[in-house]
C-alpha cells in the first residue's frame, strides 16, 4: 500500500541523498568503480510490482548518490523507464532510442523492442521530486544548487535543516551560499532552529519581497514561542510592507511613465497640428496607424530579403520610413483639403474625420481587418532589474525614444530656420507673409511634420500594441485629452499632460480597475478645464483670447 508522503520520509531521503552526494564528491575514482555494480543493482530494484517496494527502491537509489541517479529518477517520473522483456535490462526510452539506465550506453531504437514500462504514481513522483531536490543541493553545478535551495525556500520544512547546514558547510559559491542561507533561515524559523537561530533567521529574511516568506514571518510574529523573535518578526513584516508599498509606487510610476511616453508620442504630433496650427486633425490616430503599418511592411521586407542577423535593425529603418510615409500623407491632406478650411475649425474636424474613415478602410482593404504581427527585435526584448523593480527593455526604449523625439522637435523648432518660419507664421501670419515667408509652404510642412511625428509614434506603438486598422481610434480621445490638459500649443504642456495622465491612470487602475480608472481620468479632465480652460501651460494675453 502506498503511504502518504511524510516529512520524515522526505527528511530521510534528503539525508541519504546528501550523504550519498558527499560520498560521491569526496570519494576516489576506484571507489566509484566499485559502486557501479551497487548502482546497477539499485536501478534494477526499481522494477517492483508494489508501489511501496518501488518507493523503497527509489530511496535506496537516491542514497547511492551516483551521478546518473537524477537521470534515472527523472526517467521514472516521466514514464520513460522500461524493462526489456527479453534481456531484463532496465532501459530509458526517450526520443525513440533506448539507453541503458545504469551505464548510459546506447542500446538501439525503441521501435519494435519488447518493452515493459515501469510505472510511477503521483506519490512516487513527489518522492522523486524531493529526492532530486536534496540531491541537487550537492550538485556540481552552482546554478543547480541555487535552484535546489530556492525550492526549499519556496516550501520549507524543518526536516530539511540538517541537509542545508551540511550543504552550507561545503558551499564555496557566493550566490549559492546566499540562497542556502536564506533557505536555512526559513527552515529554522519554521521550527527547526533555536531561539537565537530563529532571531537570526528573521534578520536574514527581513529583506524579502516574497509573499510566502512574508507569510512565514507573519506566522512567526504571532506564534513564535520566544517574545524577542515575535517582536523582531513583527518589525520585519512592517518593514517588508513599507518596502513593498514603495516598490509598488515605483513600479506604478514606471508603468505610468511607460504609458505616458506612448501618449506623449501620440500627442506631440497633435501639439503641432492642433496646438500650433489650430487644426483639429481627427485623422491623427490614423497617422499612428499608418506608421505602425509601415513598420510592418519594413519588417516583412527585411524578413524576405535580408539575412536574419540584421533583422533587429528593421526598426531603425522603419522610423524614417514611417516619418516619410505619414509626413507625405499629411502634406497631401493639408494641400488637398485642410488649407481650404482654415478659420473653420469645426468643418476641419469633420473633413479630417472623413479622411480617417477612408484611411482606415484603405488599410483594411490592403492588409485585411485582422491584427498584423510586428515582432520586437532581439535588443528590445528581455528585462533588467533595478532596485527591485523589473523593467522590460521595450518600455525603457520607448520612454527614451519619446524623450528623444520631444527633444529633437524642440531643438528643431528652436534652432532651425524652418522652425523659426513655423513659429513666425503661428504668431503673426500676416507679418510673416509680408516678410516673404511662404506661409502656404510652411503650413504644409508644419502639418507634414506633425503627421510624420505621429508616424514615428506609430512605430513605437507597433512594439506594444496590436497593429490593426482600428489602432488609431484607441488613441485619438486620449491624445486630445493630453493636449487639452497640457495646454494647447505647448510641447512642455504635452509632456506634462502625457506623463501625468499616464501615471495617474496607472495609480487609479489597481484601486478602481482599468476602465473605471480611465473614466475617472476623463471626468477629472472635464472638471480640470473648468478651472484652467487653457490647460496647464496656458498662454495668456490678448493675442490668444480670440
Amino acid at each position: 500500500m502506498p503511504r502518504r508522503p511524510s516529512f520524515k520520509l522526505l527528511l530521510a531521503l534528503a539525508l541519504t541523498a546528501m550523504i550519498g552526494a558527499v560520498l560521491l564528491v569526496s570519494a576516489a575514482a576506484p571507489a566509484r568503480a566499485a559502486d557501479a555494480a551497487a548502482f546497477e543493482a539499485a536501478v534494477t530494484a526499481l522494477d517492483q510490482k508494489s508501489f511501496g517496494d518501488k518507493a523503497k527502491a527509489v530511496d535506496a537509489l537516491a542514497a547511492l548518490g551516483d551521478a546518473r541517479t537524477p537521470q534515472v529518477l527523472r526517467a521514472l517520473s516521466a514514464g520513460q523507464l522500461v524493462r526489456h522483456k527479453e534481456t531484463g535490462r532496465i532501459l530509458i526510452a526517450a526520443g525513440g532510442t533506448l539507453t541503458d539506465a545504469a551505464t548510459g550506453e546506447a542500446v538501439g531504437p525503441a521501435d519494435g523492442a519488447p518493452l515493459a514500462k515501469i510505472v510511477a504514481n503521483n506519490q512516487i513522483r513527489t518522492q522523486i521530486e524531493a529526492a532530486l531536490g536534496a540531491f541537487l543541493l550537492f550538485s556540481e553545478n552552482p546554478a543547480e544548487r541555487i535552484t535546489a535551495a530556492r525550492q526549499v525556500l519556496g516550501n520549507p520544512t524543518p526536516e530539511a535543516a540538517p541537509a542545508l547546514v551540511r550543504a552550507l558547510d561545503a558551499e564555496t559559491d557566493a550566490g549559492a551560499r546566499e540562497a542556502l542561507t536564506r533557505a536555512l533561515a526559513a527552515v529554522q524559523l519554521l521550527g527547526g532552529g533555536t531561539a537565537a537561530e530563529r532571531l537570526a533567521a528573521v534578520e536574514t529574511l527581513s529583506d524579502t519581497n516574497d509573499p510566502a516568506l512574508k507569510a512565514l514571518l507573519t506566522t512567526a510574529a504571532a506564534n513564535d514561542p520566544d517574545a524577542a523573535v515575535r517582536e523582531a518578526a513583527g518589525d520585519a513584516v512592517k518593514a517588508i510592507d513599507t518596502r513593498m508599498a514603495v516598490l509598488e509606487v515605483g513600479q506604478n510610476l514606471i508603468f505610468g511613465l511607460s504609458a505616458g511616453s506612448i501618449l506623449l508620442l501620440a500627442a506631440i504630433g497633435l501639439a503641432i497640428t492642433f496646438g500650433v496650427m489650430g487644426v483639429i486633425n481627427m485623422a491623427h490616430g490614423e497617422m499612428l496607424m499608418l506608421g505602425a503599418y509601415t513598420t510592418f511592411v519594413v519588417q516583412e521586407v527585411f524578413r524576405a530579403t535580408l539575412p536574419p542577423s540584421v533583422f533587429g535593425l528593421y526598426l531603425v529603418v522603419a522610423i524614417p520610413a514611417a516619418f516619410v510615409v505619414t509626413g507625405a500623407v499629411g502634406v497631401a491632406m493639408e494641400r488637398g483639403i485642410i488649407r481650404f478650411l482654415y478659420g473653420r475649425p469645426l468643418e476641419t474636424l469633420l473633413a479630417t474625420w472623413g479622411i480617417s474613415l477612408i484611411l482606415q478602410q484603405a488599410v483594411r482593404s490592403l492588409f485585411g481587418a485582422t491584427n498584423r504581427e510586428v515582432a520586437n527585435p532581439e535588443w528590445m526584448s528581455g528585462s533588467l532589474e533595478l532596485l527591485g523593480l523589473s523593467l522590460t527593455a521595450n518600455r525603457i526604449v520607448i520612454i527614451l525614444f519619446a524623450f528623444a523625439v520631444l527633444g529633437g522637435l524642440a531643438a528643431f523648432l528652436r534652432w532651425s530656420s524652418m522652425g523659426l518660419n513655423m513659429r513666425a507664421v503661428t504668431q503673426n501670419r500676416r507679418m510673416a507673409s509680408a516678410m516673404g515667408i511662404p506661409t502656404g509652404r510652411v503650413d504644409a510642412l508644419t502639418f507634414g511634420l506633425g503627421s510624420g511625428i505621429a508616424g514615428v509614434a506609430g512605430v513605437a506603438i507597433s512594439q506594444v500594441a496590436n497593429v490593426s486598422p482600428n489602432l488609431g481610434q484607441g488613441y485619438i480621445v486620449d491624445s486630445f485629452m493630453v493636449v487639452v490638459f497640457g495646454g494647447v500649443g505647448s510641447l512642455w504642456g504635452a509632456l506634462a499632460g502625457a506623463f501625468s495622465l499616464g501615471v495617474v491612470n496607472k495609480f487609479l487602475e489597481p484601486m478602481a480597475g482599468a476602465m473605471l480608472g480611465k473614466i475617472l481620468v476623463l471626468v477629472f479632465i472635464i472638471l480640470f478645464i473648468q478651472k484652467r480652460p487653457r490647460g496647464l501651460f496656458a498662454l495668456r494675453g490678448r493675442a490668444f483670447e480670440n
Binding site: 472623413g354 485619438i476 480621445v477 478645464i529 473648468q530
Partner: protein, 384 residues
C-alpha cells in the same frame, strides 16, 4: 386669434405649414395605410420591414434635428449627442427589460437575466420604478436632460467653446461607453439590453406594434420639429444665432450666453433621449456601442449633409445618408466607409450649406441660404 395661437401660427410661413402638414400626414397616415391595405403584390404596398426601417431612420432624423438646434443655431458642435440618444435608449430598454418578467431564460420575474447570471440577489436601486412606463418615459427625457444640464453648465460657464467643446463632449460619450461596458454598472455590460417581449402590453413581434412604433416616431418628430421652430423663431433663437456669430458681443448686450446655450443644449439632449427611446423598441437592442464617439460624429455629417441651421435639412440628411448606408452595405460593404469618408470631405469643402443650400442654389431661389430665421415673426406684424 389669441396671442398663443398667433405665436403657434407664426412657427411657419404659409407654405411651410402646407409642406409640414402634407409630409406629416403622408408619413403618419399614408404609409401605415399603404402597409395595411395596399395588396401585397402592388407597387404601392409598403412591407412591414420597410416601415420598420423607416421608423429607425426617423429616429436618426430626430437625433439630427436635436443636433441642429445646438450646432446649426448656437454654433455648439456636440460630438456627444450619441450619449444622450443612448441614455434615452437605455431608459426605454430598462422598461422593456422589466417587462420581460418571468419569460426570460432564467425565468426570474424580479431580475433581468444578466443580473441572475452575475449572481445578483436583488434589483439595484437605480432600476427601481422602471417597471412603470410613465417613470421610464420621464427618465427618457430627464436623464439626458440632467446630464446635458450639468455638463453644459460646467462647460459653458467656463466658456469652453468651439473645438474644445467638441473634444470634451467626445470624451464624455467615450467615458460613458467605457462605463456601460462594465458589467458591474448593472446595464448588461457588453451585451446591453435585449430580448424584449412587449411594450405597454403589445407584443413586440406583432406587425401592428411595429407600425404603431413607427407612427409614434413620426408624431414625435413632427412635434419636436415644431418645438425647435418655436425656439428658433423666438427672441432666444435670435440670441442663439447672434452668439454663434459674435459671442462676446452678446455678452456686452447683457444677454446670458451661458443661459441661452444651456437651454438649447438641454432641450436638444432631451430630444435626443426621446429619439433613443423610440429607436430601442424598433431595433430590439441597446448596447454600449451606441455611445461610441464615431456614432456621434456621424450624426454631425447627417446634419451637415442636409443643411445645418435649417431644422428640416438635418431630417433630410439623416434619411439620405442612412438610405445610402443601407444601399451600400447591401451591395458592396467595403465601399461604404470610402463613401461616408468622402461625404464628410465633399460636404465640408463644397456643400457648406448642405443639400438644402444646394437646392436653393440650383433653383436660383432668392431665399437666404444662410440660416436666418424669418425676417419678421408675424406676431409682431400685427402691431405695425
Amino acid at each position: 386669434m389669441g396671442p398663443i395661437t398667433r405665436r403657434l401660427a407664426s412657427l411657419e410661413k404659409g407654405r411651410g405649414w402646407t409642406v409640414f402638414l402634407i409630409l406629416t400626414a403622408a408619413f403618419a397616415v399614408g404609409v401605415p395605410l399603404l402597409n395595411a391595405f395596399a395588396p401585397a403584390d402592388s407597387a404601392l404596398h409598403v412591407p412591414t420591414w420597410v416601415v420598420q426601417l423607416m421608423g429607425k431612420y426617423l429616429c436618426y432624423a430626430l437625433l439630427a434635428l436635436a443636433l441642429d438646434l445646438v450646432w446649426g443655431f448656437a454654433g455648439v458642435l456636440s460630438l456627444g449627442h450619441g450619449a444622450f440618444f443612448a441614455l434615452g435608449g437605455y431608459a426605454m430598454g430598462m422598461y422593456l427589460m422589466r417587462g420581460i418578467g418571468d419569460r426570460s431564460v432564467y425565468g426570474n420575474a424580479d431580475l433581468p437575466d444578466f443580473m441572475v447570471f452575475l449572481n445578483w440577489k436583488e434589483l439595484p436601486w437605480y432600476w427601481w420604478g422602471f417597471d412603470q412606463f410613465w417613470f421610464a418615459a420621464l427618465m427618457v427625457v430627464l436623464v439626458p436632460g440632467a446630464l446635458a444640464f450639468v455638463f453644459g453648465w460646467l462647460a459653458f460657464r467656463s466658456r469652453i467653446t468651439g473645438v474644445y467643446l467638441s473634444i470634451i463632449t467626445q470624451a464624455m460619450t467615450y467615458a460613458l461607453m467605457l462605463a456601460f461596458f462594465r458589467n458591474e454598472m448593472g446595464f448588461g455590460g457588453n451585451n446591453g439590453l435585449t430580448d424584449f417581449k412587449e411594450i405597454l402590453g403589445f407584443d413586440m413581434t406583432a406587425d401592428a406594434t411595429k407600425v404603431g412604433l413607427y407612427v409614434a416616431t413620426v408624431l414625435f418628430l413632427a412635434a419636436s420639429y415644431l418645438l425647435c421652430r418655436f425656439i428658433v423663431t423666438s427672441r432666444l433663437g435670435r440670441v442663439l444665432l447672434a452668439l454663434r456669430d459674435a459671442e462676446s458681443r452678446v455678452r456686452f448686450l447683457g444677454h446670458s450666453v451661458t443661459g441661452a446655450k444651456l437651454f438649447a443644449f438641454t432641450v436638444s439632449a432631451m430630444i435626443a433621449g426621446i429619439a433613443g427611446a423610440l429607436y430601442v423598441p424598433q431595433v430590439g437592442i441597446i448596447n454600449p456601442s451606441e455611445f461610441s464617439p464615431a456614432n456621434s460624429i456621424e450624426v454631425a455629417i447627417w446634419t451637415a449633409v442636409g443643411g445645418r441651421g435649417t431644422l428640416f435639412g438635418p431630417i433630410l440628411g439623416a434619411l439620405t445618408v442612412n438610405g445610402a448606408k443601407s444601399f451600400f452595405t447591401g451591395v458592396a460593404p467595403e465601399i461604404w466607409l470610402f463613401f461616408l469618408g468622402a461625404l464628410f470631405v465633399v460636404v465640408t469643402l463644397f456643400l457648406p450649406k448642405g443639400l438644402l443650400g444646394l437646392a436653393a442654389t440650383v433653383k436660383g431661389l432668392r431665399r437666404p441660404t444662410l440660416p436666418t430665421p424669418d425676417t419678421q415673426p408675424s406676431g409682431e406684424k400685427t402691431h405695425a
